[in-house]
């Protein structure tokens, strides 16, 4: 046993898979210790904030300021708002307003903006311009307004007694704050989702829950399938007939239909993640049982089994020592398939609204579901669904690697 374990950890494939899997597990366990947010707390007002660092404006204003005279600050500021696209749009507007095209130089920021300021009037509606386009130009006008000025911004506060605005501070264009001195900076590495929840925190929690669902369901299914398969394959006779009858019953009824029916009859209130996992496990053992049975049948007449019988071993000993090791990698493979298919089953159930209660915990399936319903994929909000796919892929990939590694240990003849 000990040496087998050593051999397992000498297999590079297994170690790689194990490392990835452990990294995922560690993240799931350690992350909540560092970021202690509620995984389902709604942080953002609005949906799909892009990934990045969010700096509190109010705190920035009140932080100590440092003056830095940087040469390209102004051009950067202008460039951020006056992109090539918006320069083109301005030109388009001016041309259709009546400014001769050859007088407009979109690379000359100063003249372009002065032409714009001279001519643009938000009340003018040009022929053939949609309302949306009109609104767009209004917004553009607001954003370029005062872009060239080198004046600072005045900060005022309402005087509670008089009701007047008192000027408390001016902020120059060359003033900076140190990000560490700003009280509230929040990093959202994966942005927020459709509800305004932090995707990363949610994802970590969902990974944990989905893994739990997958493992529970996989273990339940594999245990049932393995036991029934071993019994029916090795013992044969009447036992085999009975078990195969039950197995055939379960094969004829699609397990997913069964899953839907059971989930439905349990009712929304009782559908915790664990319940769902057990239900998935109870409906998906059939193929494991069949595969194990056929393997055992081909094994039970082998000479090494006969030799073990001749050495006086009991049936239990033979099943555990002469049959089980030969199908162990098979069973692990089945377990891996069961785990990943359980994760997917959970997702499918969630899409039908029959998954775990949505108010309690996120799962990978639920996250995909939410992203899909809110059209993250159409809107290009990749951070709401892509990381979820990556996590699902990583889990299956790592488990498959482990399986291949185990295969080489369990089937020593595969080794070279």
């Amino acid at each position: 046993m000990k040496t087998a374990l050593q051999q397992v950890f000498h297999s590079r494939k297994f170690v790689t898979g194990f490392a990835i899997f452990m990294a995922i597990l560690l993240t799931v366990f350690l992350y909540p210790l560092i970021i202690q947010d509620e995984p389902l707390a709604i942080l953002g007002q609005g949906n799909f904030f892009p990934p990045g660092i969010y700096v509190n404006i109010y705190d920035s204003i009140h932080s100590k300021s440092y003056v830095l005279n940087l040469k390209d600050a102004a051009s950067k500021r202008i460039g951020k708002i006056l992109t090539d696209q918006s320069r083109q749009d301005i030109k388009e507007w001016l041309v259709s307003y009546g400014v001769p095209e050859d007088q407009i130089d979109i690379n000359d920021t100063e003249s372009l903006l002065s032409q714009w300021e001279e001519n643009y009037d938000s009340s003018i509606s040009l022929p053939g311009m949609t309302f949306a386009k009109q609104r767009y130009f209004q917004r553009l006008d607001e954003s370029v307004n005062g872009l060239l000025s080198s004046e600072g911004v005045v900060i005022s506060e309402v005087n509670q007694e008089t009701g007047n605005l008192d000027q408390t501070n001016t902020i120059d264009q060359s003033e900076y704050v140190h990000i560490n001195e700003v009280a509230n900076v929040r990093i959202l590495p994966l942005g927020t989702d459709n509800f305004g929840r932090d995707v990363l925190t949610e994802l970590v929690k969902a990974t944990g829950v989905s893994l739990k669902i997958g493992l529970i369901a996989g273990v339940v299914a594999t245990l049932i399938g393995l036991t029934l398969g071993l019994l029916s394959g090795y013992v044969g006779g009447l036992v085999d007939d009975i078990i195969m009858f039950v197995t055939n019953l379960f094969t004829v009824i699609p397990s997913f239909v069964l899953l839907i029916l059971i989930s439905f009859s349990i009712g929304q209130d009782n559908r915790g993640a664990t319940t769902i996992a057990v239900v998935i496990g109870l409906t998906s053992w059939v193929w494991t049982a069949r595969a194990v049975r056929s393997q055992v049948i081909s094994l039970r007449n082998r000479d090494h089994v006969n030799l073990s019988k001749l050495s006086g071993h009991s049936t239990a000993h033979i099943i555990l020592n002469d049959i089980l090791p030969y199908i162990a990698s098979y069973v692990v493979m089945a377990l891996i398939l069961q785990v990943s298919s359980a994760i997917l089953s959970e997702a499918s159930l969630s899409i039908l609204g029959l998954g775990p209660r949505t108010t309690e915990v996120p799962t990978l399936g639920l996250m995909m579901n939410w992203a899909m319903i809110y059209q993250a994929h159409i809107l290009g909000k990749w951070w709401a669904y892509f990381p979820v796919i990556v996590v699902i892929a990583l889990i299956t990939f790592s488990m498959n690697l482990m399986n291949t590694g185990l295969d080489q240990v369990f089937n020593p003849t595969l080794r070279d």
Partner: protein
């Protein structure tokens, strides 16, 4: 073999049918079979004639579809695990294919230790066990030091069969069923294996039921020969009688396949088809 003959393993009307309906396959068909203590019996037949199936029934590894087996005059009773274990202390086997005879997950020691445990319970100390294993390996010309901590698949076919003989050496059964123990290995190792079997027989005085498709080999080693054709025993009797004066066409054909039958047998130059 003039001593009084004690019957030790008999079968009457042994039949084994695999499958049902169209796929029905009568592997062994109403075979009457008996062998006496201290004899070497050969069962000869071409491939697929049901030799292995018969052997497995005699060993109690498969249930006969029909027929009875008598062990030392009494009806064989292996209805429960304990009785089976008792039975297998007295009858052992060497299988046809050494490469599939061992559990590849267990080390070689385990194979031999199982035999020691079966023979003597768990009374022995570790040192005594090693002594027994060393003795057994020595008997079959294997180095125990090299074998220990190795896996069976790391051995050659011939070494595996010798390990099987070492098993039998430890167990010292009354009957040994050797199912073509030499069919999977080269001519040279064959001679060694046969020699060892005969040596073992002399040493512990057991009955050998030798299964082979090679009638020449049967003539060389056995007292009694049974000729099997498609599940039936077509001819039987003392080796000389059956082989030198065959009555059946089938037997004659088997004999004609072995060109050197009337000459002095020289193991080192045996050629097998």
């Amino acid at each position: 073999m003039a001593e009084e003959k004690k019957p030790c393993l008999c079968g009457s009307g042994l039949t084994k049918i695999y499958g049902t309906g169209v796929q029905k396959n009568v592997a062994v068909d109403h075979v009457d079979f008996d062998c006496c203590q201290n004899e070497v019996i050969s069962i000869v037949g071409e491939s697929g004639s049901g030799k292995t199936t018969l052997a497995k029934m005699l060993l109690g590894l498969t249930k006969p579809t029909e027929g009875e087996i008598y062990f030392q005059g009494k009806k064989r009773d292996i209805s429960n695990m304990k009785k089976k274990k008792e039975y297998w202390k007295r009858i052992q086997a060497i299988f046809q294919d050494p490469y599939s005879s061992f559990n590849t997950f267990n080390k070689i020691d385990a194979v031999l230790l199982d035999c020691i445990a079966m023979r003597n319970g768990k009374k022995y100390t570790r040192a005594k066990k090693i002594e027994i294993m060393e003795e057994a390996c020595c008997f079959v010309n294997l180095e125990f030091d090299e074998l220990t901590n190795k896996y069976p698949f790391e051995l050659s076919g011939g070494q595996m069969q010798r390990l099987m003989i070492a098993r039998v050496f430890i167990l010292k059964p009354e009957i040994l069923i050797a199912d073509e123990p030499t069919s999977m290995i080269d001519a040279c190792s064959r001679a060694t294996i046969l020699e060892m079997l005969m040596k073992l027989r002399k040493e512990i005085g057991m009955t050998i039921i030798f299964i082979t498709h090679d009638i020449g080999l049967a003539y060389y080693i056995s007292d009694t020969v049974f000729i099997m054709e498609r599940g039936k025993i077509v001819e039987s009797g003392p080796a000389e009688q059956v082989i030198l004066h065959p009555k059946e066409e089938y037997t004659r054909r088997l004999i004609s396949d072995v060109p050197k039958i009337h000459e002095e047998w020289d193991l080192s130059s045996v050629k097998y088809g």
